[in-house]
Structures are given as structure tokens and as C-alpha cells.
């Protein structure tokens, strides 16, 4: 058998060539650091046999459909030295780009794998991969370690007595937790670099650093807790810069956090965290980034305390290791559906003090985060919690305050309450740097990313979100109320400048069901037991008018697109289809006929035009195309809006779609125009022309007088929707 070059190299390096036969492709055991650039691809399964690092200068490319299945029994660097894990060292790169229907999967060797043939819908290419078809194992976790990516972005970590300074510096760096290889700063000679951040002599990169691409990647059944704060998460991002492409990332049944981010400026879109054993999304040490389009579903795996198998906080947010160090975490999170896990679901006992999962949003150590267009439901404890501090301190002479306390208000920083009323850009009058006579206080708390949604933005805020009160504890809204979250001005129905949250007793998503509640006892601390129930099916699509439409949308030029709905999903849109474990296991609603590829730009006067398609493209079957959030077109007397559904075959890459500046080969017989009624237009038809099996793409071009024109390569007044990929069976 002629092996691809990359495979030959790998096998030879591992001394496995003798095991290769013409018919059987072995599992490729990776039992050494990767010093030279390597490609992993199907049909092989790759097994990490240790704490594997991609070393400085090397690039690991992982092709669509690749499965990496590992365990906790390793031989490298020494037998039994810890769970299998993959780390992309600072200066190395990972290019892991799966596709909507052919993801890259990091999982456990206990996960079922079988050969499968996948038709790549974009190119039509047929590949033989090793897809996973095992059933969901809800109690499985910590069956291997996790994935970490290191970059050179700025980080506020106080390495006591060493070199870091409390102000941002390209000299500052931090170690990645959970990695057991000791030589943090031992850079030379192909050794691992467990440090991140810094950006020293980084070609002017710093926060713009590029660690590669991580897209359409599912990470399953991982985790490792060696000691407190020595944990491996599903995905750890340390000092990762904003040039890194991060989207469509899933973490399922991680023992610790789903995704944890330390410093840097990474930006993520389309993230799903399911049943992790600690915080779903956790950040610290000055992350200044953004996240849009997400799904968080709390759960439990092992019968352990929060943080060790039972979900803790949905979002746990630390500003910096020490409250006044810089940069402080300041982020924007938008369009995430957050499903908690309250105690005793269905038993009518939501207030007994056992909270199941913990808070929706736990703030610590001067973190500043703006949440917009979220959906919260079934939160075990508080919607907003002032956790104040994680207890970590900087006992560092350079701080000027040896052993200073942490938490909001520490060393003259803003109080917790003040962060909710202080507009971005407003200053404190108290110096947090008394050790430096020339200092000013501002670096301690001014956000490094004032993505504040207009002049009314506050350092901390929750706006334009939907808060479901069913199954909630009595403490659910206490702190949120105290912080004014429920007292924002009402929507005026016209302008994109309001952020009133909506509190509702009506379930805002299409469906949720849970297993029967079970008692988990023997927990550390108090309470010693909780009664919790796993989610066994979720349809996260918006089910109420309040969920389907937000007051505001992001109209400016930011990382956030102009989606105008609350929560992570638009109406009849499921970006989780095709690539997630939850879709594979049937834990989440799917539509395998129509795949939402996301996207939305030039949003015009009302935010993004939304496209959804329901029904199959099989012959004699009704297909319905719907465009929503159309803007009025008064210039031609169409108050309900107007649009054209453009349907066709795309050339080899999705980047050739009109949305991305390319050309769509339009199918002339099914190109449809429609007038909208109240901002919505629908076209239904039975497509019976009998095309052979194929993949087609649909996008809406909506007319909008206010959509900006020049310098766009499109006519003035055109707004473009998301793209939906469909299969003609």
C-alpha cells in the first residue's frame, strides 16, 4: 500500500512500519514531541501516548475527519507520567480545520470507532475516515487529558518573585496549568515550552499573535485534575492571539472546564460546552476577547463535587491573578444559550439550598464582561454572582503590595457595585499602585476592550437577554436585581440602543428533557448531596417571540455579527448539526438536510437578515425557505421588506459564496424573489426536478435602503444573510 508521505514519516519515526499491511491501517501512536511539522489525516486514528507537545517552530496539520483517540495510560515522557494530552507550544502552530460534516474529533479510546465513508459536501470529495458511532456515555470523563494552545498575547499573571510586572509587558508570561512537564522556560534545543504569553521579540505580534486554526473540532470525555489549579480542560487557550482562527468548537464531558482562557485576545464563534465537570467557560489573567454564538449545557459525569465532575459555574470570570494587575479580563459575550442544572428538577424543591450546578455568571477579581442577547434557563444558583476573588494572590515585590488582598475594590480598584454603573472609560480617583509614586490608577480597571455597545455601556452588564425563571432558586435574581440588571430601560421599538432584559416564566427554547433526578451524595463541603438531572435532549431553537428577536443588534464593525435574536440559535437554525457529538448522539435537535453555515454581514438597518430552510430537497417533498428580519424598503414602497433567495451550486470552496465575495452558480429555475410581510418572506415549493445527489447553497439578498454601499462590491442597499448548505439526496 502506498502511504501518504506524512504517514510514512510518522510510522517510521515510531518504528511501526512493520505493522502496516495492505489492508489494515494501524492506529498511529504518537509517543514523542512533534519537532518537525506533521500532517495527521484519516483514515488513521491517532493515539496520544503522553503529554505531547508540538514544539516551537513546528506545525501540526490535522485534516477533516481525523480522530485522535487516547487514554490515561501513557509511556511518554515516562510511563505513567500523566494522561495523554496535546499542547501547541508558543511558537508552534496547529492547523486543525474540520468541516461541518467531517469534524476533527479528540476523544477517548473507549469511544466506539468504525470506518466510515464521508462525502465532503463542499467539494464533493469522498473520504474514508474513522467516524465515531458509539452511544453517548454520560458518566464517562477523564479518559484522557485535553488540548492546550499557547500564544504570545499579553497575560497578567504574577509569577511571584520572578519577572512579571503589574503592567502589560512583553516580558510577562505564565505557565499552563495541568501540564506536568517541568521546563517552563527552558526554551532551547527542542524542549517543551509550557509558558505562554509574553510575545518577546514576537515580530510585532503580541495580542495579534497567530497560533493557527482550530475549527469544527469536537473534544470529548477528557480531563485531568492532579491537584487544585493543576487541571487539564477540554481546550485551554493561553495567551492566544486574535489572528488565531477559533470557531465551531465543542467540549463534551470534560472533567474540568469546557474551555478555559488565560490572557491574550482570542476570539471565538460557535462554541458548545456540554456536561463539563467544572466551569463551562472560564477565563482569567486578562483575556480581552469576544465570544458569540454558543450553547452551554450543564450536567454531571462522575458523582463528585462541583469542579470535579459536577458542573460549577456556566461562566467563571477572573480579571487577573491579582485584582489590579494588567491587562484585566474584559470581554464581550453574546448570543449564548445557557442551560444550568438546578437541584431537584421536577421535584418541586428548588430552594432547599442544594443548587446542583452553580451560577450562570460568577465574577471575580475585577473582571469586566458585557453579556448581550443571551438566554438563561434552569440556573442552579444565581444569575449574577459576586464571587469576589478566587483567592489567588501576588506576593511579588513588583506589585508594591506584597500579599495584597484580592477581589473587587482591592487596592483602590472599583467596587463590585461600581463596575455595574461605571461607564467604560470612567476613572477611579484612587491609586492602585501605591508602590509607584508616579502612577495613575487607571490601568487597574479600565477595560482593555471597551466593546461597549454604544455610549451606555458599562464595565459589567447583562443586556437584552432572556431570563427564564422556571426551576430557579430563590436566590436566582437577587444579585442581578441589586446590580440593576432587571431595571434597564424598556425598548422603544425603533432604535438599536436599548438593552432591557426580559424575565419570563415561559420556556424560551423549543424543547428540553432530562433524565430522572438522582441524588449525588458524599460531596465535599456543604451540602453533602444534591439531586440533579441530566439533559437528555435539547432543542435550543427559540420558541417565543422574545427569544426570536432581540431589541438590539451589533451594527458596528466588531467581531460580533449583527444577529438579532437572543440566545445561541436563530429560528429554525442549528449550527450544531453535522459536527458535534451531541448531534451524533441525539442529544440535540438536528437537521441533516439543511446545515446552517452561519455568517451574516452588511446587516443594514435591522441587523442580519436570517435565512432558514426546513424540509427535505428530496423529490416531491415540500421545502420552505424563510427570510426573517427584513428591513422596510420605503424607497420602493415595500414596508414589509423584499428579498431574493439565491440558490445554486458553489465552486469548490465555501469562500466562493457571495457572502464571502465569490460567485454562486445560480440554479435559474429555483431562484426566487419574495416580498416580505412584517419583515418576513417565505417561499415554499416541491423541488421535483430530479437533480442527482448534490450539495447546494442558499443565501438571501435582502433589499435595505440603509445598508451601506461603497466600498462594497455589491449594489447599495443589499444585505446578505447567513448561508444554508443543503443536500439533494
Amino acid at each position: 500500500m502506498q502511504l501518504p508521505n506524512y504517514l510514512q514519516g510518522t510510522l517510521i519515526a515510531l518504528g511501526l512500519t512493520g505493522a502496516v499491511s495492505a489492508q489494515i491501517v494501524p492506529t498511529v501512536v504518537v509517543a514523542a514531541d512533534i519537532a518537525t511539522s506533521t500532517v495527521w489525516g484519516p483514515p488513521n486514528i491517532y493515539e496520544l501516548d503522553g503529554e505531547i507537545h508540538v514544539l516551537d517552530g513546528a506545525t501540526l496539520t490535522i485534516l477533516p475527519g481525523t480522530v485522535i483517540a487516547s487514554d490515561t495510560t501513557v509511556s511518554f515522557p515516562t510511563p505513567g507520567s500523566g494522561p495523554a494530552s496535546l499542547t501547541i507550544d508558543r511558537g508552534a502552530m496547529i492547523v486543525a480545520k474540520g468541516t461541518q460534516t467531517n469534524p476533527i474529533v479528540f476523544t477517548s479510546k473507549s469511544d466506539g470507532t468504525t470506518p466510515a465513508t464521508t462525502i465532503e459536501p463542499i467539494s464533493g470529495a469522498q473520504t474514508t475516515s474513522r467516524n465515531l458511532n458509539g452511544a453517548y456515555r454520560p458518566a464517562a470523563t477523564a479518559e484522557w487529558g485535553g488540548v492546550s494552545i499557547h500564544g504570545e498575547g499579553y497575560v497578567s499573571y504574577c509569577n511571584a518573585g520572578v519577572t512579571n510586572t503589574p503592567v502589560p509587558s512583553s516580558s510577562n508570561e505564565a505557565p499552563m496549568e495541568g501540564l506536568l512537564r517541568p521546563n517552563i522556560r527552558n526554551y532551547g534545543g527542542g524542549k517543551v515550552v509550557t509558558a505562554f504569553g509574553g510575545g518577546f521579540t514576537s515580530d510585532g505580534q503580541g495580542d495579534n499573535d497567530d497560533s493557527g486554526a482550530f475549527e469544527f473540532v469536537s473534544i470529548r470525555y477528557n480531563g485531568f485534575v492532579a491537584a487544585s489549579t493543576v487541571e487539564l480542560n477540554g481546550l485551554g487557550l493561553g495567551g492566544v492571539g486574535r489572528e488565531t482562527d477559533l470557531s465551531h468548537i465543542e467540549s463534551l464531558n470534560s472533567l474540568d472546564d469546557g474551555i478555559e482562557i488565560w490572557g491574550g485576545a482570542a476570539r471565538l464563534k460557535y462554541v458548545e460546552i456540554w456536561a463539563c465537570g467544572d466551569d463551562s467557560i472560564d477565563f482569567d489573567q486578562g483575556w480581552r476577547g469576544a465570544l458569540q454564538h454558543g450553547l452551554v449545557v450543564q450536567g454531571y459525569t462522575t458523582p463528585s463535587s462541583q469542579g470535579s465532575g459536577l458542573s460549577d459555574n456556566c461562566f467563571e470570570m477572573d480579571g487577573a491573578e491579582q485584582c489590579f494587575w494588567q491587562p484585566v479580563s474584559s470581554a464581550v459575550i453574546a448570543n449564548v444559550t445557557v442551560v444550568g442544572m438546578p437541584d431537584a428538577i421536577g421535584t418541586g424543591d428548588p430552594v432547599n439550598g442544594n443548587n446542583g450546578g452553580d451560577h450562570a455568571m460568577a465574577f471575580r477579581d475585577n473582571a469586566r464582561v458585557q453579556f448581550h442577547r443571551m438566554v438563561y434557563l434552569d440556573i442552579g444558583d444565581r444569575l449574577v454572582s459576586n464571587d469576589n476573588t478566587d483567592g489567588e494572590r501576588c506576593n511579588n515585590a513588583s506589585s508594591g503590595i506584597p500579599g495584597a488582598g484580592g477581589g473587587y475594590g482591592c487596592s483602590g480598584t472599583l467596587s463590585w457595585a461600581a463596575t455595574w454603573t461605571t461607564a467604560t472609560g470612567t476613572l477611579s480617583t484612587v491609586s492602585p499602585f501605591p508602590g509607584f509614586p508616579e502612577s495613575t490608577p487607571t490601568e487597574a480597571y479600565i477595560t482593555a476592550s471597551n466593546m461597549d455597545f454604544g455610549a451606555n455601556g458599562k464595565l459589567n452588564e447583562v443586556k437584552d437577554s432572556l431570563i427564564y425563571t422556571g426551576n430557579s432558586s430563590v436566590a436566582y435574581l437577587v444579585e442581578a436585581t441589586a446590580r440593576g440588571v432587571l431595571a434597564l430601560p424598556a425598548d422603544d421599538g425603533v432604535n438599536n440602543n436599548n438593552g432591557a432584559n426580559v424575565v419570563t416564566g415561559t420556556l424560551p427554547i423549543a424543547a428540553i428533557s432530562r433524565d430522572p433526578a438522582v441524588t449525588i451524595g458524599g460531596l465535599t463541603g456543604s451540602p453533602s448531596s444534591v439531586d440533579v438531572a441530566r439533559v437528555n435532549f435539547l432543542d435550543p431553537r427559540p420558541a417565543t417571540a422574545d427569544a426570536r428577536r432581540s431589541y438590539e443588534w451589533e451594527a458596528g464593525n466588531t467581531f460580533l455579527d449583527g444577529s438579532r435574536y437572543r440566545g445561541g440559535f436563530g429560528q429554525d437554525r442549528l449550527w450544531t448539526t453535522g459536527w458535534t457529538a451531541t448531534a451524533q448522539y441525539g442529544l440535540i435537535a438536528t437537521d441533516t438536510a439543511n446545515y446552517d453555515l452561519g455568517g451574516c454581514n452588511n446587516p443594514g438597518s435591522r441587523g442580519c437578515t436570517e435565512l432558514s430552510i426546513t424540509g427535505s430537497w428530496a423529490a416531491s417533498t415540500l421545502v420552505t425557505l424563510t427570510a426573517r428580519n427584513l428591513a422596510p424598503v420605503p424607497s420602493v414602497g415595500l414596508p414589509g421588506g423584499a428579498c431574493v433567495f439565491v440558490i445554486g451550486f458553489a465552486p469548490a470552496s465555501p469562500t466562493a459564496l457571495p457572502l464571502f465575495g465569490g460567485v454562486l452558480n445560480v440554479l435559474p429555475d429555483i431562484q426566487e424573489g419574495a416580498f416580505g410581510i412584517a419583515g418576513e418572506a417565505t417561499v415554499s415549493f416541491v423541488y421535483g426536478r430530479g437533480l442527482p445527489p448534490a450539495t447546494i447553497f442558499t443565501q438571501v439578498v435582502a433589499f435595505d435602503d440603509a445598508a451601506f454601499g461603497s466600498p462594497l462590491p455589491f449594489p447599495t442597499g443589499a444585505s446578505f444573510s447567513n448561508v444554508v448548505m443543503s443536500r439533494i439526496p
Partner: protein, 446 residues
């Protein structure tokens, strides 16, 4: 990091704010066709005179300035190495390396070569590169060329804005450079319109593109508006994030240069940099001091330069910084010391730094060694010791080959070629052959 950019003397070595590599002949060459000085590396007018109207007259298409053939060859070699990076999987790295070559071409007054290279960039960085080409044309009186490149870059920015996979800071990196040029051409309204839509996070990043644009505001300040501008800068430095502080310091150093003849104003400006040491990031503070020192030397004020240098040295000696960080400043400080007249001390400083490098080499990341060492070669070249510079360049070339992968090798050899071209270092036949061998040998594994 990319700070204090100017079209004539923008050294792109790591974290270099100081015009360490701006040897006098580089500066002289760079200013030959300038209709008016705008950059810190150029002679300051006796009386501040920003934006004389006649600076924007049409002078016809820009042409490549005469240049030694070996320097042109080095630019081509640098580009060859950059373009050798495969699009799959290194499209972003490739474009980044290509953009550095474009900038070097502009620095060396080779605008047509820069444009040729810019148009071959395959991603959003083509927009930033074309925006730089436009700025060059504007500065040199090629108003048609400026308009053409502005339009091309703006079209790319528009496409990026439409692309859901792109990030706003990339768009912003282009439009802020466009704004800079529109401001220079007198269209403040257009500049402000472009700047108004940027994602604030881009401005607050440590982003050279933004800094370049903001810094151009220094060119618009007059003696009458200086106090108001300084007051505004005080507000920015006091209230802003570190990213904005970078921009503010950039404006300060430009103003320091322009108003150097006025001692009172000069000191007033310098205070904005000198008294912020506890607040500014260490690299920014140190670089800011050294930039002021370099400007003082340019104005033949060596005593002031030595004071500033001593202040920077003291800061580095008492601050907790990584050893790489300190070593990175050694050659830059040596150059300032040399230019201030302390030749022997400058050489001693360099040799001491090289000894540190040799002793600690194994503790530096492999892909950073050439980057650490290259400024030492540049410093010797600036100081006129071509022999020693050559020895070090040979070492730099080989250090860049330590990593087995061609991606870091391509970056290193490309940047070494640019360094040599900028610093008028003519490699001998042996070294040139070795460089060609390395460039020609780039390939798997990438």
C-alpha cells in the same frame, strides 16, 4: 512590536521603537525624494510647519530610487523566502512575511517593487500593504497613485467587512492606515469617517497600524495648538488602556522631534514620556526614552541623549524583566551610545551582550535566537564595523537554520535579508551563496 512607523525609517526588528537601524545613509537615502519631512528619522524644520499646502501637489508617478544592486537583490531574496511559504497551511504566515518585505521596499524607496509584492499578497494584509503604498505615494506627490492604491485598499477592506470569517481588527488595520493618508492629503472628513467605525478593541490592541494612524496627528499640531494637544495626550495616557498609551507616546515622540528647537516645549513634551515609567509597559517606556535620545542626537544634543539613555538603563536595571527582554535592548542602547559619541563604551556594551547571549543561548527559544542576535549585527554595521557585523550576520543566518522546519527558517532568512538591505550590509560571496542555498532549500517540512 510595530510602533512609531514611518515610511522612511521604521525598523521592524523586535520591540524596536528606537530607530536603531536608521543609519545616517539609510535616512539620507530615504529622504531624497521627500517633498517634506514627516518622520522622526528626518530633519526637523526649524519652525514647526505641519502640512504646508504645497506638500500635496502632484509630482507625478513615484519611481524606484537608485539603490545598490545587492540591496535590491536582498529585497528579492527576502520576498522569495516569504513567498515560498505554502498557502496551505500557512496562508497567514506567508502574507505576514510578504507584508514585511513590502514595508522594507517602501523604507528603501522602492515603491514599484513594493507595489508588485503587495499585489501578490493573498489575504487581508494586501489591504494594509496597499494602504502603505498609498501613503508612500501621498508623501511623495504621486496623488494619482495614492488615490488608486487607496481605492484598492478600501475595496479590500469592504470585502473583509463582508466576510463573516474575518475579524474586525483586520478591517481596522487597513482603514486606519487609509485614514492616515486621507488626513495627510487634507481630507480630514474622510479620515474621521473611516476612523469612526473601527472596532475599539483594535485601537486598544498593541497594533502598529492603529498607532501609525494616530501618530499622524502629530503632524497636524502647530505651535498654537500644542498645549491643547498635550493636554489631550495627558488624558489619553492617564485614562487609556495600554494600547492607547502606545499611540499617545508615539505622538509625543513625534512632537518632541518637531518642537525640539523650543526648549520649553521640548521639555514639556518629554515629560509625558519620562514621568510615566510606572504606568507605561516596560518595553514602551524604554523604547520611548530611547526614541527621545535618538531624536536628541539628531538635533546634535548629545548631552540630553546621554541623560535619556542613562534613564533607560537605570529602568532596565531595576525592573523585573526576562533576560531576553533586557538583551533585546542592548544593541539598541549601544547604537544610541555610539551616536552620542561613546564609541568604546558602545562596543563594550555590545560585546558584553554577546557574551550573555553565548552563555545563555541554550535557554532561549530556538526560533527567537536569530531575532535576538540580528540587532547586534545591525548595531555593528551602524557603528561602521562591517567585519564584525559580517561575522554576526553569518551567525544569525545559521541560528535561523537551527529549527528543522521551513516556516521559521523562511521568516528568519527573509528578515535577515531585509536587515542587511536596510543597513547597507553587502554580504560576501560566501554568505550570499549560503543565503541563496537556504532560500532555495525551503520546503517540507514546513
Amino acid at each position: 512590536m510595530k510602533m512609531f512607523p514611518s515610511s522612511s525609517c521604521w525598523i521592524l526588528t523586535s520591540m524596536v521603537l528606537v530607530g536603531a537601524g536608521c543609519s545616517s545613509d539609510v535616512v539620507a537615502a530615504a529622504t531624497q525624494q521627500q517633498p517634506k519631512p514627516v518622520a522622526t528619522g528626518e530633519p526637523a524644520p526649524a519652525v514647526p510647519a505641519p502640512h504646508a499646502e504645497d506638500s500635496r501637489r502632484e509630482l507625478g508617478p513615484v519611481v524606484d530610487a537608485p539603490i545598490d544592486p545587492y540591496r535590491r537583490d536582498l529585497l528579492h531574496l527576502a520576498y522569495q523566502a516569504a513567498a515560498a511559504l505554502p498557502v496551505d497551511p500557512h496562508a497567514k504566515s506567508r502574507a505576514s512575511a510578504q507584508e514585511l518585505v513590502v514595508l522594507a521596499c517602501l523604507d528603501l524607496e522602492q515603491p514599484t517593487l513594493a507595489l508588485k509584492f503587495a499585489e501578490e499578497i493573498g489575504n487581508w494584509r494586501r489591504g494594509t500593504a496597499l494602504a502603505d503604498c498609498a501613503h508612500y505615494c501621498a508623501l511623495h506627490g504621486d496623488l494619482d497613485g495614492a488615490a488608486r492604491h487607496l481605492a484598492a485598499a478600501e475595496k479590500i477592506a469592504g470585502e473583509i467587512r463582508l466576510d463573516a470569517d474575518q475579524q474586525a481588527w483586520r478591517y481596522d488595520s487597513i482603514v486606519m492606515k487609509l485614514a492616515r493618508t486621507h488626513a495627510w492629503l487634507g481630507d480630514r472628513q474622510k479620515a474621521e469617517q473611516l476612523a469612526a467605525v473601527v472596532d475599539q478593541t483594535s485601537g486598544q490592541a498593541f497594533d502598529g497600524g492603529w498607532a501609525a494612524s494616530v501618530a499622524s496627528r502629530a503632524d497636524l499640531v502647530t505651535a498654537d495648538t500644542l498645549d491643547a494637544e498635550l493636554s489631550q495626550l495627558d488624558g489619553i495616557i492617564a485614562s487609556a488602556t495600554s494600547g492607547e498609551a502606545y499611540n499617545a507616546v508615539s505622538v509625543c515622540t513625534r512632537l518632541f522631534d518637531r518642537f525640539y528647537a523650543d526648549a520649553e516645549q521640548r521639555e514639556k513634551i518629554a515629560r509625558r514620556v519620562r514621568t510615566r515609567d510606572s504606568k507605561l509597559p516596560p518595553d514602551l517606556f524604554t523604547s520611548g526614552l530611547m526614541e527621545l535620545a535618538r531624536i536628541a542626537i539628531k538635533h546634535d544634543d548629545k548631552a540630553a541623549a546621554k541623560d535619556l539613555l542613562a534613564e533607560a538603563r537605570h529602568f532596565l536595571s531595576v525592573s523585573e524583566l526576562t533576560k531576553e527582554f533586557r538583551l533585546g535592548f542592548t544593541p539598541l542602547m549601544a547604537i544610541v551610545r555610539f551616536q552620542a559619541g561613546d564609541v568604546g563604551a558602545a562596543q563594550g556594551e555590545l560585546e558584553a551582550g554577546l557574551e550573555v547571549y553565548q552563555n545563555e543561548r541554550e535557554t532561549y527559544r530556538g526560533t527567537k535566537r536569530a531575532k535576538i542576535l540580528r540587532p547586534f549585527a545591525e548595531a555593528y554595521q551602524v557603528m561602521g564595523d562591517t567585519q564584525r557585523a559580517g561575522d554576526l550576520y553569518e551567525l544569525v543566518v545559521e541560528e535561523g537554520m537551527e529549527n528543522p522546519n521551513s516556516r521559521p527558517r523562511a521568516h528568519d532568512i527573509s528578515e535577515t535579508c531585509l536587515s542587511m538591505a536596510r543597513h547597507r550590509f553587502a554580504p560576501d560571496q560566501k554568505l550570499l551563496a549560503r543565503i541563496r542555498e537556504i532560500v532555495g532549500g525551503l520546503g517540507d517540512p514546513w
